[in-house]
């Protein structure tokens, strides 16, 4: 079991080191995230009250768009120079590989969420009324998106049409995450009188199922 986590940590560290060196996240994905927030502003209204009312939904749509980019990147890293074949031959279990890759995506998503939270506070005038709920929602949703995304990234890997296929495969499956996280943020940012903590339960169920299911299913996919 300790071998499992050691392997997973190795893979996660490898992916994060690649990110740290290439700076794709900071130089490209993060600016894109802010750009999306600005574009929503242009598209909706210059009135900050409107933007504030829609801030939770816009936040999570922006997270999903950025997640797509992060996952594409996570997949393409393995395709270069037959890296995936190397990992497979290393005798590492597919589940450990999955957990490692998903962890790396998770860390990147959390960084993006922090950035976007700052973005909606500054640009949309949102106020964090329940910091704990914001953090819990952010973490659970990031687990759900990272695990589902990593599994679907593996599904679409090696295909010429991966860039276009991944969104239509992944986004419908993440519909409950979008709904749940948005509603929880509605509560946490004081936008609507809903029970954000109840939504957290739904996110937790999704995150657990996505982690366990992803680790199991990854085995069936990797040994092709």
């Amino acid at each position: 079991m300790s071998r499992f986590f050691a392997d997973a940590r190795l893979v996660a560290a490898k992916d994060l080191r690649i990110e740290a060196r290439s700076r794709v996240l900071l130089n490209q994905v993060a600016p894109f995230a802010l750009l999306v927030l600005v574009l929503f502003g242009f598209a909706l209204d210059a009135d900050q009250r409107t933007l504030r009312a829609f801030a939770p939904g816009l936040f999570w749509v922006a997270v999903l768009f950025c997640a797509l980019l992060a996952i594409q990147r996570s997949v393409s890293v393995e395709q270069a120079d037959g890296a995936l074949t190397g990992l497979r031959l290393s005798g590492m279990s597919p589940a450990a590989l999955f957990v490692g890759k998903a962890s790396a995506v998770f860390v990147q998503l959390v960084v993006l969420e922090v950035l976007l939270t700052a973005g909606i506070i500054v640009l949309y005038g949102s106020e964090v009324e329940q910091p704990l709920l914001v953090v819990a929602t952010g973490l659970l949703a990031a687990v759900a998106v990272a695990c589902t995304g990593t599994l679907y990234g593996a599904l679409a890997s090696g295909l010429g049409v991966r860039e276009t296929l991944l969104p239509i495969l992944l986004l419908p499956v993440l519909a409950p995450v979008l709904i749940g996280a948005t509603r929880a943020f509605d509560d946490a940012l004081g936008n609507a009188a809903v029970d954000g903590w109840a939504w957290l339960g739904l996110l937790a169920v999704f995150a657990v199922v996505a982690t366990a299911g992803g680790a199991l299913a990854h085995g069936a996919l990797v040994d092709e």
């Binding site: 296929l165 239509i168 419908p172 709904i179 749940g180 739904l202 999704f206 092709e224």
Partner: protein, 266 residues
């Protein structure tokens, strides 16, 4: 090494033709009942005495409700066959899963279209965001659109089968969560808790609805049967192409060997 190329020109068989004829007769009977023999849904308001109800729009339900039920039957069948494939890894399960997914997606699209057309006169809207079943069905439709896109994009048949099986299982597992989230999302639903409960139930209305279930079930069975055979033939065709190429190559080598042997002997 030439296989005799005796072929047919159809995926039909005596059984499937019989099924097809029965299905067509069933559809004609269903149309007769749905449009001619049943009454429109007209009730009197208990206090005001006004005429209320769905009127003739109810005739769309004889089609919409069975389509919806068999959409879910097809997708569950796809998930079961996908699980079967992951366990047994046989072509039969994979072909069945792919066939069920494709037919199910066609049914699902039609459920959304007929539901929308029914909703306009009855609910006074083409689309109702707060309705749980509607939104769940839409998400399901989108997920299986992705499934079909994935299967068409994957050239390697084994990769296509495995990846498809995972997507189908994820979609069906995700469904209860989607359903629950949409239900909480808008704590109200326009759909009748029981579609039958609110209608003025006449024996003939109920019979027509049951007939709808029977006929649409036959339609599903016929489509599944033929789509399965097409899938099977596609696989055989690809395999046959490879087998023929290998056989031809082998024949070349054999001839070469014979030539060499003859040359040596001479």
């Amino acid at each position: 090494m030439t296989e005799t190329m005796e072929t047919t020109d159809t995926t039909g068989s005596r059984g499937s033709r019989l099924l097809g004829v029965v299905t067509l007769l069933g559809l004609a009977t269903l149309l007769l009942f749905a449009f001619a023999l049943t009454e429109p849904d007209v009730r009197l308001h208990p206090t005001t005495g006004q005429e209320i109800g769905q009127f003739d729009a109810v005739r769309l339900l004889y089609l919409h409700v069975p389509l919806a039920v068999f959409t879910y039957v097809a997708f569950v069948l796809c998930a079961v066959a996908s699980a079967g494939y992951l366990v047994k890894r046989t072509a039969w399960f994979d072909t069945m899963a792919y066939a069920a997914a494709e037919v199910g997606t066609v049914f699902c699209g039609l459920v959304l279209v007929t539901g929308s057309i029914w909703g306009r006169p009855v609910w006074n809207t083409w689309w109702e965001w707060g309705d749980v079943r509607l939104m769940t069905t839409l998400v399901l439709f989108l997920m299986f659109t992705g499934y079909l896109a994935l299967r068409r994009a994957t050239v390697d048949p084994r990769a296509s089968a495995r990846r498809g099986a995972v997507v189908a299982l994820v979609a069906v597992l995700d469904l209860p969560i989607v359903n629950r989230s949409v239900e909480w999302w808008e704590n109200r639903t326009l759909h009748q808790k029981s579609t039958l409960g609110e209608l003025k139930i006449q024996d003939l209305t109920l019979f027509t609805l049951m007939l709808g279930f029977l006929v649409l079930g036959l339609v599903l069975a016929w489509l599944l049967l033929h789509r399965f055979r097409v899938g099977w033939l596609e696989r055989e065709d690809a395999g046959h192409g490879v087998a023929t190429a290998i056989a031809e190559r082998r024949a070349d080598i054999d001839e070469g060997d014979v030539d060499a042997a003859v040359g040596e002997g001479a």
